[in-house]
Structures are given as C-alpha cells and as structure tokens.
Assembly symmetry: C2
Homo-oligomer: 408 residues x 2
C-alpha cells in the first residue's frame, strides 16, 4: 500500500501541446500489459536530461548521452519496461541502437533524434523479436493519455505516478505534465529511473539544462528507498515550445524563476511519489539535517539515517528506538562531529538534547509520533548553518518479499 499517494486521474493530467503519446504491448516480460511508451516531440523541442552515476550504467543510458550530445534535436523518447538492458555488454548497446533506428524509421527522423530508456530486470538481453514490433506500434499509436504513459513504464510500482502544473510566464499560460516510476533500487545519483516532464514552454537549451540539474538535485537526488543506485536512472525534461509568449532565455528572469520553480516542484512531487510507493513502504519519512558546515555533510548524515536498516525497521514497527538514529549520524562520515552538540526532534517532540536523551522526553510522546504515516526527523548538528532534506520510507516484510520474489 503506497503511503498517502493519490491515484492520478486521467482527466486531471494536462496534455502538452507538441507532445504526442503512444503505448503498445510487446510482451517483454508479461503478456497483456502495455510495456512500451513512445513520446513524439514536435520539431524544435528542447530536451535536457541527467543520468545515473552508476559506472555500470545501462546501454540505453550510454546511448541517451550520445544522442543528447549529438545535438541534432530530440524528436522521440522510447521506453520499455520489463527489461533494463543493463549488464548486457556490446549486444545490449547494439540492441539499444536498433531500437532507436526502428522508431526513427517509422517516424521519418534520424536515429540520433531518439532517446531510448529501459527498466526492469538486469543482465538479460532484450527480446528484440518482440520489442521492435512493439516500439513500431507505439510510434504509430495514439493519442494516449499521460495516465496511459505512466502505466506503461511501471515495474514493481503499485500505482502509476503522474502530475501536472500550470504556470504563467509573462502573462501566458504554460503547462507541465510529468510521470515517474520506481519502487526499489532507488537511491538516485543524478536522477531516478525514470522521471519525465513535458512542457509546452519555450526555453533555450542551456537554460533547460540548468533547470533540470537544479530540479534533479532538489527532488530525485534527495530520495532513497534502499540505497541501491540504479543502472538506469534517468530524468528528462522536454519543452515543446508551443506555448505563447517569448522564449525563456535566462534562469534568473522572472519567467526563468517561475518555470524552474514549476519544474522543481513537479519533480519533487514525482520523486516523493516513488518513495510513497517504495517497495513495502508503510511510512513516508522526511529527514532534515540542519546546522551543518555545508550541505554535503548534512546530506551524508541524512542518507546514513535513511539507509540504516535498523532505523527503517524501527519505523516499520512504530518503535521509538531512536538511539538507532543517533548511531547512524555517528557513522555518517562527519569525522570531527561533536556528539555533545547534537539535538534531535521527531516531528515536534524534542528527543535528544546535547547528545543525550532530553530529560523531558517521554517514551509515549515518541510512540505517538512513530505511529503516524508521515514522520519528520530533524537532526541539529550545532556546527554551522547549512541544511539538507531527503525523503525515504521504512523497511518492512513486504520489501523482503517483493525482492525475494521479484523475478519469479
């Protein structure tokens, strides 16, 4: 059961002018489910993306980087679920390229104008005999809705993830709609597998690049389910330029700030949706580490808490065994940390003061907070003014079940 995650409603997801959606069934892993998505982008669209820092990156990630660098203008995005095309060597790379070629041939564009994405099981080759007819069908199909698109990229997700935003830029309305997927192998390091946002905004390439990096850092790069940085993480924003008004040419103009804020806010909602639907999640946990010397050390401490299986099982049990949080802060990589300066809150309850249990802390107050489905842990390091926030979920029996059974 996802944690406080609303099922998206097709009618509330706004179409984006200049972006057409096609889905198809290729039977890659399961029969009778739509497992291929093709987004067709109008000529002149700006596309920017960030990709996994995993050195064992998947073949499609390598091809995406090449095709974005080629600068020929991206006209299509093709996604398959059921198979990640990672750990597949030279054959995997050839298969990713062949996928782009098939889509390109169908749409009458160049193969380097197609970005390929894959998600699913690692270290198996794509079933090209089924995949190619599938991507050709999806390239021709449509128009489908953004809800169809979100459904076509799910793996262990229990529900599709999608949301829309409207923003006015210089008096002209601009629309953004995004989708994401992911539930396990989630500790994005650049972005997560997979987040897509489309907008009809007109925006120049270098500005969109900067907006994507900024949005990724504040959203997908701030979530973790299990600490496993995926081979396929990708976050892409496509701007079709079909909205009225002049193009956005700077990050710091009023329009640039408004568009960047809308992209970031949508990315945060999509990233949090991944955590809310994290494998086996029963709690949504916000971890905020404040009072650090720099953001990097706050993030390190926050991730140490967010990755600790002991902390995560305590949340699952609603057990205020809060020493486990201190323990994680202690090994979180801040070498000169002074434990006697640390305070910790659980929601509004002061648990730790000056490195020890606060005299006024009562177990029943901790217990009361731990029973909530959304909990905020706030750690104050007492050594500076920097802060960082990440989002994670608990570790439950269902996480073990899901990952012990994933392939069967």
């Amino acid at each position: 059961m996802p944690v406080n995650l609303k099922l998206p409603v097709a009618a509330e997801l706004r179409p984006i002018a200049g972006v057409d959606i096609g889905v198809a069934e290729a039977g890659i892993r399961k029969a009778s489910r739509r497992d291929i998505l093709v987004l067709r982008l109008a000529e002149g669209a700006s596309v920017a993306g960030v990709f996994t820092a995993n050195r064992f990156c998947a073949a499609p990630v390598t091809v995406c980087r090449e095709h974005l660098a080629a600068g020929e203008g991206i006209r299509a995005i093709v996604v398959n679920t059921g198979n990640a095309n990672a750990g597949t060597g030279a054959t995997g790379l050839a298969n990713a390229r062949a996928t782009c070629e098939a889509v390109a041939a169908r749409l009458g564009i160049g193969a380097r104008q197609v970005l390929p994405f894959s998600t699913g099981v690692i270290m198996e080759q794509l079933p090209m005999d089924r995949l190619i007819p599938g991507v050709v069908a999806a390239a021709s199909a449509g128009p489908a809705t953004w809800l169809d698109a979100a459904q076509a990229i799910m793996t262990t997700d229990t529900q599709p993830k999608a949301a829309s935003r409207m923003v006015e830029l210089g008096g002209h309305p601009v629309t953004l709609t995004g989708i994401s997927k992911g539930a396990g192998m989630i500790r994005p390091n650049m972005a997560t597998m997979l987040g897509f946002i489309a907008t009809d905004a007109k925006v120049s390439q270098h500005v969109l690049d900067a907006m994507v990096r900024r949005a990724a850092d504040a959203s997908f790069n701030a979530i973790t389910v299990d600490g496993d940085t995926s081979t396929n993480d990708s976050f892409v924003v496509a701007a079709s330029g079909r909205a009225a008004g002049p193009p956005v040419t700077g990050l710091h103009t009023p329009e640039g700030r408004a568009l960047s804020q809308a992209i970031t806010s949508l990315a945060i909602e999509l990233a949090q949706a991944i955590v809310r639907d994290g494998e086996g999640a029963t709690k949504f946990i916000t971890i905020s580490v404040e009072g650090g010397r720099d953001e990097a050390e706050c993030r390190k401490a926050a991730y140490a808490i967010g990755h600790s299986p002991l902390v995560k099982t305590a949340f699952f049990a609603s057990d205020p065994n809060l020493g486990r949080i201190l323990c994680a802060v202690g090994y979180g990589g801040i070498d000169d940390l002074d434990q006697s300066r640390i305070d910790m809150y659980l929601d509004d309850v002061l648990v730790v003061q000056a490195g020890g249990r606060h005299p006024g802390y009562r177990e029943e107050d901790g217990q009361r907070v731990m029973k909530r489905s959304e909990i905020c842990v706030r750690v104050l390091l007492g050594r500076g003014t920097a802060k960082a926030t990440i989002w994670t979920c608990d570790l439950s029996h269902d996480y073990v079940s899901i990952n012990a059974d994933y392939r069967s």
Copy 2:
C-alpha cells in the same frame, strides 16, 4: 538459525592462565539471565584494543580509550549486556566511570585499571541500582568458564561465540581463547562490539598493539550484517604473560609472526561467527573483489555488494538475480571503473565476462550455487592486482522481525 555455526563446547575452550572469569545476574533488561561479565587479569598483563569509529561512540568506549591511554596497567574488564550506555550524555559517562570504580574497589586496584564495555539498547541510562551490585558480584565470583563468559555478553545472538587456539612460540605452548557477540548493527569500523581474546603469551605492549590492529583489519573490520557501524564496537586482546619462554618483542620474529597469525585466525573465526549468527541470516556469503588498483577500492566495491538490500534479498530467495551485484559494483564508488573489463564468478560458475552475461552461463548453474548455505562471490575488476575479502549474510524476513520487535 545460525549458518553452519557450531555451538561451542565448554570443555574445548581452554582456560588462560592469569585470566579469571566471573559472571553475575544484574537483571539489567531481563530477569534470570547472567548479564555481567568480569575478567580479572594478572598483574603485568598487556592489553590492547581498537574501538568504533562511530562519532556517537558510547560512554564506555570513551572511558576505555582514556584508561588504556593512562598506562597504569589494565587489571579488569567489565561488560554488561542489555544496555549500550550510548547516546546517554554526561550521565552515561559518569555511570561508566562509577562502574569502573565499583569493580576497582572490590578488587583493590585503581579505577583506571578497569576497562568498561556495554552492549544492548541505545539511549537509555544504565540502571545503576542493579548494575553496581551485579558488577561487584561478578568481580568476586568464579571461576566461571569461557562459555559462561560468551553467554553473559549475548544480545540478539542466538548462540554464544567462543573459540580457542594453541600455538608454539620458541618451543613453548601458548594458549588463546576468544569470545565475541553481535548479530545486528554490524559493520565494524575498527572492530566489532564485542570481541575479546585472552592469551597467556608474553608480549610487549607495542607489539600487541600492532597485532590487534592487524587482526581487527582482517577479521572484525571485514564483516557486515546490515551496514550499521555500532556505537560500541570494541575488540580487545589481553595477554597475561603466564606462558613459559621469553617475551615476544617483535612482529617479524618467528614468534611474533606465529602469535600474530594465531590472534588473527582466532579473530576471523569469532568475526565470522557474528555473521553466521547475523540477525535473520540463512546464508553465509564471502565477497572477494580482485584486480583492483588498491585494497581500498576493492573493499568499497565489496561493501557496496555486501550492503545492498537487493543483493541480500536475492541471496535469501536463492534467486540468481545477479545483475543486482553488478549494479552495486557500479555505484560502489570507483569513479573511473570500466564496466567492460569486469568478470564475476559465483563459486566456480562464470556469470559475467567483459561486463556482460557470459554466453556459457546457464540460469540453472547460478540457481544451483544460490541454493547453498555458503556462497562465494568473486568480482574481478581487471584494473590492478589488489584484492579484498569481506563476509556478510543475507537479508531475510527474520531480520525485519527481529529489529521490529527488538525492544518489545
């Protein structure tokens, strides 16, 4: 159920001349169990220890460091289970000192000649009204066996951990007996909570210091259950000097090498026992990363594999979902890793060659290995000659149950 871990037999654990054992019931957390251990050391014993790198180290760890640095000669070791005295601030520190004073008063030694250790729940104060009578009783009690000692320090351990070694130094027999405890919050970084080795060897202080560091690196510092570096990790070797023959005064003499080897080998057995009895463990996994540029990068990659919840749940399920291992290597922190040079074996089965699935690899061969209770993962990085080996266990439903219920 621990994985292939023999229950120690009292008669096979050799007494150490110059080391007397006393245990007692203090009712710290549970009634009717012996939860206090005091080791009394003969005058002139050499004692060396390494302690957790967790910045939120427990009060007794701070006191141990002070007392070892004082150099007044350690004459007693006192351990309680049921409460870790960590995250307890100034009161916790005062309680650790008061514990040493009580033991010292009973034995007629100085308080700085006592090393205190605690294990159990974090962020609760020690119940001093029960602890003090308990440590006084244990300081007077005895003689108990090493099996009693091992039992008195258990927490979530399902069985006591103890072993002995005999070694000849210059024709004279020397005996070593060690005990350890720990099952969760195990990713030692200096040593684990708790390992003790006693020997009757005569050995000078600086040589023993070096031997302890060497043994810790090869044993306790090479295991992980859940990646949580404890607040209380401690590994201590006490050498009573009661054996016949001249003292060991160098690491590189034949006697120095023999003693160091015996300490290391015993420490490895005790460390592996912790993994075999890891919380919820059903598999004992050896992870060997070879062909790295230096040992540090091999260890990083090995720990990335050993900490991945996805890898660990695949082992639990006996599912050869081996792409998860590649994925962990990829995010393991080697920034310039070339995936196309990587090979991987599961026991004797070649799974990955040149970064992709080996053409001869058959799922049923992987399946056959995954069903074993002891499995070796060998990753060849293809970029150097360094290597590192660590030991870990799988992640099962029982891990979640144990840690969701630990305090209740």
